[in-house]
Symmetry: D2
Subunit: 398 residues, 4 copies
Amino acid sequence: MKAHTITMLGTGLIGDFYTMTLHGQRGRDRVRVVYSRSEERGKAFGERWGIPESTTDMEAAIRHPETDVVVVALPNHLHEQAVKAVAAAGKAVLVTKPLGRNAAEAKRMLDAVEAAGVFGGYLEDLCYTPKTLKALKSVEDGALGDVTWVRSRETHPGPHSAWFWDGRLTGGGAIIDLGCHCIEIIRNFVGKGNRPVSVMCTTDTLVHPIDDEDNAIALIKFESGAIGQFEVSWTFRGGMDLRDEVAGTHGTIWLNHFLRTGYEMFTAGGSGGYVAEKAETAAGWLFPVGDEVSELGYVDMFTDMFDAIDHGRAPRETLYDGYVVNSVMDACYRSARSGAWEPVDLEWRGGTTPRIGAKPEMLGDDVVIKREILPDGRVKLILKEAATGDYVDRVIAG
Amino acid sequence: MKAHTITMLGTGLIGDFYTMTLHGQRGRDRVRVVYSRSEERGKAFGERWGIPESTTDMEAAIRHPETDVVVVALPNHLHEQAVKAVAAAGKAVLVTKPLGRNAAEAKRMLDAVEAAGVFGGYLEDLCYTPKTLKALKSVEDGALGDVTWVRSRETHPGPHSAWFWDGRLTGGGAIIDLGCHCIEIIRNFVGKGNRPVSVMCTTDTLVHPIDDEDNAIALIKFESGAIGQFEVSWTFRGGMDLRDEVAGTHGTIWLNHFLRTGYEMFTAGGSGGYVAEKAETAAGWLFPVGDEVSELGYVDMFTDMFDAIDHGRAPRETLYDGYVVNSVMDACYRSARSGAWEPVDLEWRGGTTPRIGAKPEMLGDDVVIKREILPDGRVKLILKEAATGDYVDRVIAG
Amino acid sequence: MKAHTITMLGTGLIGDFYTMTLHGQRGRDRVRVVYSRSEERGKAFGERWGIPESTTDMEAAIRHPETDVVVVALPNHLHEQAVKAVAAAGKAVLVTKPLGRNAAEAKRMLDAVEAAGVFGGYLEDLCYTPKTLKALKSVEDGALGDVTWVRSRETHPGPHSAWFWDGRLTGGGAIIDLGCHCIEIIRNFVGKGNRPVSVMCTTDTLVHPIDDEDNAIALIKFESGAIGQFEVSWTFRGGMDLRDEVAGTHGTIWLNHFLRTGYEMFTAGGSGGYVAEKAETAAGWLFPVGDEVSELGYVDMFTDMFDAIDHGRAPRETLYDGYVVNSVMDACYRSARSGAWEPVDLEWRGGTTPRIGAKPEMLGDDVVIKREILPDGRVKLILKEAATGDYVDRVIAG
Amino acid sequence: MKAHTITMLGTGLIGDFYTMTLHGQRGRDRVRVVYSRSEERGKAFGERWGIPESTTDMEAAIRHPETDVVVVALPNHLHEQAVKAVAAAGKAVLVTKPLGRNAAEAKRMLDAVEAAGVFGGYLEDLCYTPKTLKALKSVEDGALGDVTWVRSRETHPGPHSAWFWDGRLTGGGAIIDLGCHCIEIIRNFVGKGNRPVSVMCTTDTLVHPIDDEDNAIALIKFESGAIGQFEVSWTFRGGMDLRDEVAGTHGTIWLNHFLRTGYEMFTAGGSGGYVAEKAETAAGWLFPVGDEVSELGYVDMFTDMFDAIDHGRAPRETLYDGYVVNSVMDACYRSARSGAWEPVDLEWRGGTTPRIGAKPEMLGDDVVIKREILPDGRVKLILKEAATGDYVDRVIAG
């Protein structure tokens, strides 16, 4: 039973979530050293989580002699430098989302890690929520037939840290922050071997006085004919809305990860406690989540990553996936500017997926459009007659 | 207290819903004569609803000496002929959705009715659901601030009558059948004076072997910057999904009209009864609706129509609204073919609506991006510094 | 098509709901005169609803020459006097819930109405909600098998009018106000021919400084073995909680009439509008109801009452039902004092209902306790062996 | 960082859940040896979970030289023997619910463990669900004020193993199986220092041909005046219904652990996969749970147990708690037989809890019953006048 010793780069909210997960619930893996650009924040983080060492020297943190895995939990503009340094140090590297500010940056990270031959993992937690994992299993088992449409929605009133709002550092606005989740959730449901072909995206800056988009909607066409749809916003009021909807030829899945999970509370106020990430109020009707690090996927994500390292296999979410996501986001920004469907430019490794669609049922020469069972047990067929092209009802014995 | 006597044209599912509503719950208005193309269906309909007379002569039905209102509940391709005949007869005309197969047809009907000076009403029930009416009141009262985004979704496994599947008779597929509802719901929420400027739509025929779309998604840009989004499908599995979501700068509304309305039933089977419109199963977990004609808006719709006639005012939903909806649908079909944003061509009567957007809050020269209350009661501001363009945190006293 | 002209006695909240319903949605029945103990309130009520006449003379209102139906919407302690006067006047009388302050009072009203031979109806709106009516139809059709257990819950933060809090005027506290609804809902689901045999009730005054109960829970045993359970409170926080749950041998029904009906709204505040009856807040997450008079049953209730008068049949809810409810409440109060199961004393007219319970399935001499389908398609039986009395698993072919 | 090596006694469904949890998600603790009465089941269990050794010798399993903790996951009638043997072996013992078949048995186990001075833990998973833990924190922080009422419901169609149905082996029916969960959930919410004083319980055998109850409802009065209410059944149709509702003077909490947790799926069938514990169907609308071992509390439960051992503190759920639960269940069975409120006989260690209830607000000599804000901003008070005992409205400036 192997255990891993970790270098954590970054001390923001995501670093807290990651370390809470890694150290949580009888886990055997431990953070050994944390890097922060600020000595004060590094020390506070170390004390908060019982980490023996903190440093402001990123290179020293990466090359710490006792760690074998480095988690990159830094702002987006620092990913490339960090990933290249970890690759050079020959350690496994796990990178928070999004991988890069754009596909070119993501590709350089992917290339560096592949050239070094080290393990790379893409920390896309929302593809690992327990609900998502179980739903993906149902889809793979055929419960939905062919997937035709996936909606992924992630909206909240805006991020907590200043750097998130600066597109120069992040690569964009709400798409870069939230759309990266949605795109990869959609890819999981339509199948990772299903090539994203083209993208239509519209963005706007409706509420916040910033230079980048605080609202965006995009449609993604996949090779199979499936459509992905994402809605991201930094202007949603009511908390954090994380929902995914999947439609297939034989079924439907609706996942609600945050505001409606079977936990409802009304309080006249006064408790003063933490409700949930991005909650807007502390009184009235509130909708907390039971165990956020579990329900948002952090637990299953790190389990997959470390088990993948231990067994020499690829994780569910690879740096290549991160690169695909950046490529789709690049196409989104191009489309928002051009107002047109834009192709997704990327080095595709995923093979091909056939077009959705069954052979129609026939009744003689006529096409059966629909079957309905009547109250008396007989069956009504709606037929398209070959001879006339007309649509007609025909009732037959049940 | 006036009462109306009605000519009903058509004996399909919608004619049943309309007559059930008109005759229901102590109502004072009554259907006097029903027209059907089939003598047999007309007679059965008359017996079902206690209507004194049925006929296969449309003109006679329209000109029946005792009726003052004519309801057009016919397949789409028969609307124009019927509406013109009613206008010529000088009676009030209420037309089921969609008004026409396309905007040109709709415009001719509108013109005929306006030229004749008779009352015209557009029977768009889903804009009259009690939930929608109350939600619209909240929006008008400012509960949501400026509306930024509206999603309207209507999907089910496909219509029950053969003619619905024949685009030659209807004008299209799922957009014509279902999108017309969504577009008008969206218009109500963003404001009827908010001009629909352009449309991006993607359609596909994924499941049914038909010539028109069985799936469509569209984005509608309004003059204010608000975005409408509709999703329509004849391939949804699980029943009929009718949901609307409205986001504004200060709030959010989620309406669920069908599958999750506070009525949940599990049955091991055996009852054999009607569950709800478009329900797929009669055992397992079922989600009936209490009073469909009330919750789907039919009751409030006819109340508005007749009260409007009685008081000489316009109804909430006019034939002009029906024409606008057809114009948006025309743009959807053009966009689906061109793959580009298409302008909505129409004779606009709705005035202008200003762009969404507040003046940003300032702290000296710096723009305040966001305020957050810290656990200790102090306030954290995220600022965009005028001097540098950088985004920074600043904590101030609460 | 008959129409009725109505005398309304009382101008409180319930009088408003009743008149809104009677005059609403193209109805043909009209309130002609309203009685109030206060001239001012009577006039205001008349103006609010367009009622031609108001008076402070109850007898005159009842004997108004143009009215044929009298609605008793007065505080509980005035019901007996009013009902007797209406009976003496030979008019139809519809009485709000609860019928009396106790069973003796209710019985005297029932006797007076029966002696006079006039129509009597019990205005128990919550037995007429569209959800309840449809659920009752499903139960009658066998969708749930035998009903074994019904929970009815009605709780809110307390009534709006002073007299409600005075047990001398009402007959009690939360049981009299809310329990009367629950008891009759339960009776509808277990069957009106199913005699309520005995009652166990516990009450307390936990929050409000009053002399009567602000909380109560009761269990009601019916002849069939079914158990009814009600929970009533004037101390609930969060709005008005109206939920019914029905369990049967073959199914389950859950009804939510108020706080979760598919209408969800978050507002940062500022609209100032009416949200819903008993709503506690005007900001944060709110859960309005679409059309309260429809969803709370008022519409279907008056339709049933007037149609019953027109067709010379009994309404769904009779004054005898009101008397049964009072008898059960009397037993509740006795049980709360004695701490013991108390019999329900009443003149029973409902016949008998057999004990729930099927003949057990046998496998040879052994009793089959349960069947489960295994993943491989075989069936696992849990048997009680006749010879030993032991419980054993046995797997058989599917 | 300590790790524990475990002896698992028992290979039933609960043994699977326990081992899945212990070995899951990067855990450092491991099961070393498993005991089963059947060599075949023991071997299969060992292979399923990668456990090095299995045995049919319970004493040998307990005294295995490498294990320091023994988990008792055996049928109820084997608990006492096993617990005494572990105590004699001087190891930590964790016992599944219920602790004993009755309080006397539970007390003997408690005494044996306390006499031996070893660590004892009560494996009551449903008190450890993440939702419950967070809700308890909110209650402790005062979000609900004083807790007045707790409802805990656990119902499903009946257990999977034959021995569960044999009251001679278990101590009873649905109460012993499910009520033990509910009682301890209720105790957590009303406060563990809040003595359960008396119990009223009604039981019946409605569906299954067994000797013990398949349905039960009970009320528990606590010293503070709070009421606990549990509903347990082996006859529920629709899956497994696990819900808790908590009401307090200032708020409300509703928890849904199973059928409505934000995961909804419709399938036309064909996937054949596992849906969830006690699911009844594999098609139609299904409601799976994301991660059952997390959401049902197993993960947090074992974390608490092992961390308690490591830090020399008591776990949240002790064997004394198990004994209290058995004492309450004993009172339930006595009450079901006597038809009366029965005192809870137990050796109480929990101290005292004061009566719920605030001092009433006064306006001069009058008691303020309720405050309501009127639409115009003024405040309406409902007062009980000291002089008359009458209840009156008084409107004051806001």
